[in-house]
């Protein structure tokens, strides 16, 4: 079957989708967006967390056909999504994420350091606050759980700009990390929330 939906702010058409196929499979295997990780396939680990119409969900438990006409944000589009949010645009209204650019993306500290300001609109927008905070706090080891954690943590800060430790623990309770012991991840979320707060304070918003 064919599924039409929006991914990271841009329309997408997936063809020959098997009816029992998950959104996660479509993203990874049909769209070439492997940022969302495939691990438990039963909603236990949170590695495949994406936003579906803004709501964090496990992409492995969403049937692809259920996404018809809906809006999905993956970790590949997270930086643009965060930039659009800060600029007050609806998701995708400021150009969204070019899937080809997302596929070409490589971790590059130099480029990341230049920040979003140097990136042309609609292209790679550097790192979002939460992504930079994960790097700075040392919250990444093997990196497998990181995409899901980033999407979940970004949604938390969007919903609760100054989260308590209990808020953070609850929001990330569906994301398993087997390397870090979570402490650095909690540090990263606190750091991102503090940076977002000082940025909004700076703009007088």
């Amino acid at each position: 079957m064919r599924v039409n939906f929006r991914v990271n702010g841009r329309p997408h058409e997936a063809d020959d989708v098997w009816e029992g196929e998950s959104l996660l499979y479509v993203l990874r295997e049909r769209m070439g967006l492997p940022g969302s990780k495939n691990a438990c396939e039963q909603g236990e680990c949170g590695s495949c967390t994406v936003r579906l119409d803004g709501v964090p969900v496990c992409a492995c438990l969403v049937a692809a056909g259920q996404c018809e006409g809906r809006e999905v944000v993956t970790v590949e589009g997270l930086a643009d999504y965060a930039r659009d949010r800060a600029a007050g645009c609806a998701a995708g209204a400021c150009g969204g994420t070019n899937p080809d650019a997302a596929q070409r993306w490589r971790a590059d500290p130099g480029k990341a350091a230049q920040g979003a300001a140097d990136s042309p609109a609609g292209e790679h927008a550097g790192l979002s606050t939460i992504q930079q905070a994960f790097i700075d706090a040392g919250a990444v080891q093997c990196g497998f759980c990181t995409p899901g954690l980033l999407v979940a943590a970004d949604e938390l800060i969007e919903r609760v700009p100054q989260p308590s430790d209990a808020d953070i623990r609850e929001a990330l309770s569906g994301n398993l990390c087997r390397c870090t012991g979570y402490e650095k991840i909690l540090d990263a979320v606190r750091l991102a929330a503090a940076r977002e707060e000082s940025q909004t304070a700076g703009t007088g918003a």
């Binding site: 079957m1 098997w18 009816e19 029992g20 998950s22 396939e41 039963q42 909603g43 236990e44 949170g46 967390t49 709501v55 964090p56 969900v57 496990c58 492995c60 438990l61 969403v62 049937a63 056909g65 259920q66 018809e68 979940a152 209990a166 609850e170 929001a171 309770s173 569906g174 994301n175």
Partner: protein, 302 residues
């Protein structure tokens, strides 16, 4: 496999009548696991996401009419005053990602004895509105569970609305598991005080082939509270009454040994949860509903 996408309730009923083997899918938190692991290959998936009324709820005079697909997150955030027991139980479901998708209709459709919402539905008092092209019927929740992962639905029927009595007194839910998140119940217990009828109702989860009420324990407690004038005086329930209540709740269990716990442990733990949750709800009743224990921040450790 075919993917059926009805745009309305009428279309959904027509599709289910035409394809009685179609598996309804809403949040997908159970169904997709079975498909991902190749445990199930239904000929038809019946996607209910476009049926708007299933995602809506209404608060009436006596009941909350909860659409079958309303996710747990909505129940926890919007309905914890009206349905405190269900909000507490819902807060123990999976993780935020799962609670954003999973629903009471899914719990009822799967009819697993370990479903978290069942004890709360039993304790509050609930009727399930199911429908087919042939018509609508209301099934008391006690009669809805017919066996392990079996329910009273006919092949052409779908769950539409869950009619749950609004709380008129304190309610509690307690669950045993290895951690707070992402845990299937080893066993669970729900309790609701109904001061207007001077009755107490219970629900036991994951300690028998189906979720069930501990009716003998309820009858004993109702009589003991009436006889002692507890509802009027609001005095503390005596330890001997609480103990006998707990023993009768334990006795209502019919558990099995499995990887999550032994039958003996389950029977014991359900009794402990019964005694403690009775204490918590009664304390709240005595303090005039200003109980220290609220649904804020999730379920208490029993």
């Amino acid at each position: 496999m075919d993917f059926l996408r009805p745009a309305s309730w009428e279309e959904a009923l027509a599709a289910k009548a035409e394809h009685p083997t179609a598996v309804p899918i809403a949040g997908g938190t159970d169904v997709m696991v079975e498909i991902n692991f190749d445990h199930r290959r239904p000929a038809y998936l019946l996607d209910l996401n476009r049926v708007a009324e299933l995602h809506a709820y209404e608060v009436g005079e006596e009941n909350v009419r909860l659409g079958a697909s309303v996710p747990y997150t909505r129940i926890i955030e919007d309905l914890r005053t009206e349905l405190p027991g269900l909000a507490l139980a819902g807060h123990t479901v999976g993780s935020p990602q799962i609670r954003n998708r999973g629903s009471v209709g899914g719990n009822l459709g799967a009819a697993s004895p370990a479903g978290d919402s069942h004890p709360a539905l039993l304790a509050a008092g609930t009727e399930i509105e199911v429908a087919s092209v042939r018509g609508t019927r209301f099934i008391p929740v006690e009669e809805f569970y017919t066996g392990v992962k079996r329910n009273a639905l006919e092949p052409d029927e779908l769950i539409k609305t869950v009619h749950i009595k609004k709380a008129s007194g304190p309610q509690q839910f307690s669950k045993v598991g290895t951690r707070n998140a992402m845990v299937i119940a080893v066993c669970a217990f729900g309790i609701a005080l109904h001061p207007e009828t001077r009755t107490v109702r219970t629900g036991i989860g994951s300690a028998a082939p189906t979720p069930l009420r501990a009716t003998a324990a309820e009858e004993f407690l109702d009589a003991a509270l009436a006889e002692g004038g507890f509802w009027e005086s609001g005095k503390t329930i005596t330890p001997s009454i609480a103990r006998q209540f707990a023993e009768l709740v334990s006795g209502a269990c019919n558990p099995i040994d499995d990887v999550r716990g032994s039958a003996r442990y389950r029977r014991h733990a359900v009794g402990i949860m019964a005694r403690r949750t009775l204490g918590w709800t009664w304390d709240e009743y005595r303090s005039g509903g200003r109980g220290a224990r609220s649904t804020e921040g999730g379920a208490q450790c029993a």
